[in-house]
């Protein structure tokens, strides 16, 4: 099996060490030392993740059961949320100050914003620093003024491109490594009526992925993105805008399935599984499942082909999906204890066993990973490129990125206009969210 990933060259042990060291700057203290309650305690956890890491539900059930065995007085009710309902359901709960004790959050802004809005308690107030330092990706995405908002749960290498060598080989094509190669593959395959890339943007989410994996190639750090958010840079500046032109090129070269605008992401990925498209982009934790579904020997896992010489070109992003403790929870210490329990060796190993994806803990024994695809993915995430979508306001993501990706890919808008619209939306956001600049500036420090 052939795996294309720059991160492959990274020595695993060194990477783990690097991650551990990156936590040394975190000032975490005050972890609670209250005695564990003996009375009956009920916790509610709203979570998401089975959608991108199939098997997560089994792990949640196993872990809750194991915790019940350890603490018979604690009952944990779990509710799996839908993708579209995850954010709004929590927003409604937060408005009512009633709902889950433990809540799932995507990383970056999706964890920061609830913290800024006073909806969650910093996890670093309840989990000791010595424990937290092992949680992967918490410093870059979750740290705010010395506190860490949420506890990383599993790592999402974001987002691998999967190429089918059998489909490409049928037309004497090689797996594209550069942008030029990719456009050539698109030209050849589109002439034969085969989409080079399968995607669906009807539900919007894929737009954010594309922004991160194409747009991430021209920035030098996540601070560039935050600078554009607070207004010291612009989304029309070349390092932020050029990716829109690249996206437009994919439309012009007919890279995508023609129905990309009327399909949801998961529906479109099926085209790749069915052999009707040469490549697709999938969630990191789900990549091994996709590869195994069509035969791992026919699949190459790689980062988006390079179009720039930027620092992160040819690298996959890395983000951790997280769990936070709500501000209104009456059992924060117990909730934190459960989170720490979920990072114990047995649970880390079980996560890998159940989902085949990587738990967000540097104590996880990478030696357990034998599958070369998984190994490449895990190594690419330690340390990976910043996942850009997590560093912009969620509203910019939906109103500018999702919407303009749909328009560019339908051929109704140029890349240049899309960049200008993104900037206009951002300028407006700075007016409507009066705390945005202050919060983002504090976050970037």
């Amino acid at each position: 099996m052939k795996i294309l990933s720059k991160a492959f060259s990274v020595d695993c042990t060194a990477a783990v060490l690097l991650m551990s060291l990156s936590f040394t700057g975190v000032s975490v203290a005050n972890a609670s030392s209250k005695p564990f309650p003996t009375k009956a305690v009920t916790l509610t956890m709203w979570w998401w993740g089975d959608q991108e890491a199939p098997g997560a539900k089994l792990w949640v059930d196993d872990t809750v059961k194991a915790y019940k065995k350890k603490h018979p007085n604690v009952t944990i009710n779990t509710v799996l949320q839908t993708t579209d309902g995850l954010v709004p359901a929590f927003a409604a709960a937060a408005a009512a100050k009633k709902g889950p004790d433990l809540q799932y959050f995507w990383g970056g802004i999706y964890s920061q914003q609830p913290g800024w809005d006073g909806q969650i308690a910093p996890i670093s107030d309840y989990i000791p620093a010595a424990e937290l330092k092992h949680y992967v990706n918490s410093s870059a995405e979750l740290l705010f003024q010395g506190k860490i908002w949420t506890a990383p749960w599993y790592v999402n290498p974001s987002f691998p491109v999967l190429a089918r060598t059998d489909v490409l080989g049928k037309y004497n094509l090689k797996v594209p490594a550069t942008w030029k190669d990719l456009l050539y593959v698109c030209d050849v395959l589109s002439a034969k009526g085969v989409p080079a890339l399968a995607g669906g943007v009807k539900d919007g989410w894929f737009g954010g992925w594309l922004y991160s994996i194409i747009g991430g190639q021209s920035v030098s750090s996540n601070k560039d993105v935050v600078a554009a958010v607070v207004g010291t840079q612009k989304f029309t500046d070349p390092i932020h805008a050029e990716w829109w032109t690249r996206l437009q090129e994919t439309k012009e070269h007919k890279c995508w399935n023609s129905d990309i605008n009327s399909l949801e992401l998961y529906q479109a990925q099926q085209l790749w599984k069915d052999g009707k498209a040469a490549m697709t982009v999938v969630a990191g934790p789900d990549a091994p499942n996709f590869a195994n579904a069509v035969g791992a020997s026919k699949v190459v896992v790689m980062a988006m082909p390079k179009w720039s010489n930027g620092k992160f070109a040819g690298k996959m992003g890395s983000t951790s999906q997280t769990i936070g403790i709500t501000q209104w929870s009456k059992n924060k210490e117990v909730a934190a204890d459960f989170l720490m329990f979920s990072h114990e060796k047995a649970q880390l190993d079980n996560w890998f066993k159940r989902t085949g994806s990587m738990p967000a803990d540097d104590r996880f024994d990478l030696g357990m990973v034998k599958d070369p695809i998984k190994k490449a993915l895990f190594q690419s995430a330690l340390p990976g490129a910043p996942y850009l979508e997590n560093f912009i306001p969620a509203q910019l993501d939906t109103d500018a990125i999702f919407a303009n990706v749909q328009l560019v890919l339908s051929g109704k808008k140029s890349g240049k206009d899309a960049a200008a619209d993104s900037q206009a939306v951002m300028e407006r956001l700075r007016k409507t969210d009066r705390n945005l600049v202050k919060n983002f500036t504090a976050w970037s420090k």
Partner: protein
């Protein structure tokens, strides 16, 4: 004996009693609706007051009309309102189709029950079901376009929900398909209750099918059609959220092609966490809907006026 009673008792007490009874009679209807009115005030009154209060605040601090200025200058809000306005074009289509369907059902001798059910069925289907079914059916490579291509009608195989120029009209078409059943049944019910003598007399006088229904039936159905028109106008202004949410995964896409005011409010409140902007937009929407309702009552009052009314 009555005559022996003191005069003040004789004349004042019964008079007072009648005054009280008279007053009670006049206020009787109000007393009957008092419990329901109390509930309405409690539920809606409180919400509306809270809405008004929120629309003048930001994170609890008074900001005057700042939120109104932000919402009214937001291009997305204006786009959303424009889309609601465009959807109003579906109302006359709905009224016309409902009238035609109702007349056809009225004139149908055989299988009326079956046809009536067939027309009404879409109305009772849950919107999420409709959204999912049409979402699949109308994909670029979905069942409808496959059928059109099989018939050689490739030019008609459009990206119904994926093309920003088609999406809103497609949405309008789906709303018409669902809502026409309600209008048909409403008009048909009124049609059945009309005195048959008038229609018979017109027929005897030689009125054909079209003349009969345009000149005799239609004028008699005017109040119910007007009610339906106002009802559907309110639907188009403030009741299309479900369609948009289900068919575009809550995005109002492609781009901003199907964003409507309710979706704007929902996203402001629950996705963008700007409850104040959501409250402001909701207040503006409420005012727009109130204009429709007041307009309806005024028109209805004028229609109900007889020739001898002042």
């Amino acid at each position: 004996m009555i005559n022996s009673a003191p005069t003040d008792y004789l004349f004042t007490t019964p008079r007072k009693l009648w005054v009280v009874i008279g007053r009670l009679r006049r206020s009787g209807p109000f007393l009957w609706v008092l419990p329901a009115g109390f509930c309405v005030v409690l539920i809606f009154g409180y919400s509306i007051l809270d809405l008004v209060q929120q629309s003048f605040k930001y994170r609890g601090a008074w900001v005057g009309f700042e939120n109104f200025s932000l919402v009214l200058t937001d291009p997305l809000f204006r786009t959303a309102i424009f889309h609601n306005f465009l959807l109003l074009f579906a109302v006359p289509i709905l009224a016309t189709l409902s009238f035609i369907c109702a007349v056809l059902l009225f004139e149908t001798r055989k299988g009326m029950k079956f046809y009536r059910s067939a027309v009404f069925l879409p109305y009772i289907l849950p919107i999420p079901v409709i959204g999912v079914v049409f979402g699949q059916l109308l994909q670029l490579n979905g069942a409808l376009n496959s059928a059109l291509r099989a018939l050689g009608l490739n030019g008609l195989a459009l990206d119904w929900l994926g093309d920003p120029q088609q999406a809103l009209w497609t949405m309008g078409g789906i709303i018409i398909w669902k809502e026409v059943g309600f209008g048909t049944i409403l008009i048909l019910a009124r049609l059945i209750s009309l005195p048959l003598e008038t229609l018979e007399a017109a027929r005897i006088d030689g009125a054909g099918f079209f003349r009969l229904h345009l000149k005799v039936t239609l004028p008699q159905l005017r109040p119910v059609i007007l009610f339906y028109i106002i009802n559907e106008a309110i639907v188009m202004v403030s009741w299309v959220f479900n369609y948009v949410y289900v068919m575009t995964n809550g995005q109002g896409g492609p781009g901003k092609a199907t964003v409507v005011s309710e979706l704007y409010i929902y996203r402001s409140a629950f996705q963008n966490k700007s409850p104040e902007l959501a409250a402001t937009a909701a207040l503006l929407l409420l005012l727009a809907t109130l204009i429709f309702i007041i307009g309806f009552f005024r028109i209805q009052r004028n229609l109900n006026k007889g020739p001898f009314d002042e």
